[in-house]
């Protein structure tokens, strides 16, 4: 069954690839550990099952073996942790320069997106707001100022590997860069009340060339 | 069970010191000092007083070392909690 796959669904953001790569590294490590330990367990159970007249060995431990598995595990996991810090900082801290900025305000149970309008600046008169629809250009970093009006929500773009809680009283910077035009889902991943399950929006990624056209159309619509 | 050592404990002397430190604290708090030194000095005095109470009135000074360790054990956790969470802001 397709559902049972351990492969991740395709990702459509620049750092999605990095995240997926880390995931596969961990999948390999844990996969090997899983097979080894569970295999060993089963083998031991068969090999040393109770037999009439057999007596267990009186062993209290093995210093070298214990040192080995402790060290090996330590090296693997700490290496993994250190190796992941780069991606993490890239995703959560290093917002690229020249990003297009929008404000996403969550509230029970909708996503309101405020666009900068034609002047490209937020906080000016030509800003306009759309409900549950985030439209961005392709291949350009987008910086979202994530806010919430009431409780905690979580801005989740599964296909782009983005997830960030929206905290009331704070404005959190989230960025991503889509790699392919198309429509994607915006989900809410943090329990936010009885309508949590239906709090969804749509992310539309336009080919960079079409984005201005979309903006004009959206403006016209907003003016009505 | 109670060691003879603390029979001689200078309970009233400690009381005097606690009193003096309290007065000192109040005056110190209203001195025109930079915020850091204000807080620092006050915390030093408060910890000093707390230690006096723990060591003499609660007799920690006269207890076995193990109890001492036991009593101090949650303090690192308290520090960890505050120091880490404050990084958020």
């Amino acid at each position: 069954m397709d559902v049972l796959s351990w492969l991740l669904p395709e990702s459509f953001s620049t750092f999605g690839r990095d995240i997926d790569r880390l995931y596969y590294v961990i999948l390999w490590i844990t996969g090997v550990v899983f097979v080894l330990t569970e295999g060993l367990l089963v083998w031991i159970l068969v090999r040393y099952r109770h037999r009439e007249g057999r007596r267990a060995a009186h062993i209290h431990g093995h210093r070298t073996l214990e040192m080995v598995w402790t060290t090996v595990t330590g090296v693997i996991v700490l290496g993994l942790a250190v190796a992941s810090t780069g991606v993490w900082h890239h995703v959560k801290r290093d917002v690229p320069a020249g990003a297009m900025e929008v404000i996403v305000t969550a509230k029970q149970y909708e996503w309101n997106v405020t666009y900068p309008g034609p002047d490209g600046l937020l906080g000016t008169d030509d800003d306009f707001t759309r409900r549950n629809a985030l439209d961005v250009p392709d291949a350009r970093p987008v910086l979202v100022h994530l806010r919430s009006e009431d409780v905690i929500h979580s801005f989740f773009l599964p296909e782009l590997r983005v997830k960030q809680d929206a905290l009331p009283g704070k404005s959190i910077r989230v960025w991503f860069e889509a790699t392919r035009p198309g429509t994607y889902v915006i989900g809410c991943a943090e329990l936010c009340g009885l309508g949590h399950y239906r709090m969804q929006g749509q992310l539309t990624v336009h080919a960079a060339a079409d984005y201005q056209d979309w903006m004009q159309a959206a403006l016209a619509e907003a003016d009505q | 069970m109670s060691e003879d050592a603390h029979k001689e404990s200078p309970y009233f002397l400690i009381w005097g010191v606690l009193f003096a430190l309290t007065v000192a604290e109040v005056f110190y708090a209203f001195m025109e000092l930079p915020q850091f030194w204000l807080a620092f000095g006050l915390i030093v005095m408060a910890v000093w007083k707390a230690l006096l109470v723990a060591l003499y009135y609660m007799h920690l000074r006269f207890e076995p070392r193990r109890l001492w360790v036991l009593a101090a054990s949650p303090l690192p956790l308290a520090v960890i909690l505050v120091v880490v969470v404050i990084q958020e802001f």
Binding site: - | M1, S2, A29, F30, A50, M58, A71, L77
Partner: protein, 220 residues
């Protein structure tokens, strides 16, 4: 069977008997409880300094300094009660216990007065009702809004910390009454003073917490 148990409690060589050990262990959890409260205060104050005020602006420092002194006195009377029972001095035990009870009650009383004055000045825990204007200042008609000192977090954290401390003192006074009642019945002696000693541990701990609270809440 009972001989076995009798020979065992406390274990040979035990220096700290169970009751006292138990009280110490309980106090560790109290440390963590106050860590949660005081820690939250420190964090909230650090994050929102504008919600708080300089010492003495809203809170009555001289009054509380005096109250601190009262509590310190109660610590010394408590420890004297213990010293008395160590010497088998029943009268002394009772007298010092009574003094401790009186001082403890007085402390709670002062706190109650403090609370009622503060809340009448608009310094309340309820966020929406907070409108403290500070000591000395009076609510000018209509101008109350402008003069508010600090913000709701101040009231909430203040009452949570001092309130839980006050609750500890009150519970302590109740326990002291019980200890006093037992002392009157002659239940304690130099060879059996566990009850007095753990009462003292609790009482001094509560005093110790107050020393920190006074500094952190009123003075810094």
């Amino acid at each position: 069977m009972s001989t076995a148990a009798a020979g065992r409690l406390p274990m040979p060589g035990m220096k700290v008997y169970n009751l006292k050990l138990g009280m110490w262990i309980f106090l560790l959890s109290e440390v963590m409880f106050f860590t949660g409260l005081i820690g939250s205060y420190i964090i909230l104050r650090f994050a929102h300094p504008e919600h708080f005020a300089a010492p003495g602006v809203v809170l009555n420092v001289p009054l509380t300094a005096f109250n601190t002194f009262v509590l310190i006195c109660s610590s010394v009377t408590m420890v004297k009660a213990f010293a008395a029972v160590e010497q088998g001095d029943q009268k002394g035990l009772q007298r010092w216990l009574l003094a401790t009870i009186a001082l403890g009650t007085f402390f709670v009383g002062v706190q109650a007065v403090e609370y009622s004055v503060l809340s009448s000045e608009g310094f309340v825990p309820m966020a929406e009702l907070y409108h403290a204007v500070g000591r000395g200042a009076v609510h000018a008609e209509g101008a109350a809004e402008a003069a508010v000192v600090g913000g709701p977090l101040y009231g909430a954290t203040f009452y949570a910390m001092t309130g839980f401390h006050g609750a500890h003192v009150s519970i302590g006074v109740l326990c002291l009454l019980y200890v006093y009642w037992r002392a009157r019945k002659g239940k304690y002696s130099a060879a059996s003073l566990g009850g007095v000693e753990i009462m003292g541990l609790y009482w001094h701990f509560v005093d110790l917490v107050w020393i920190l609270l006074f500094t952190i809440v009123y003075l810094i």
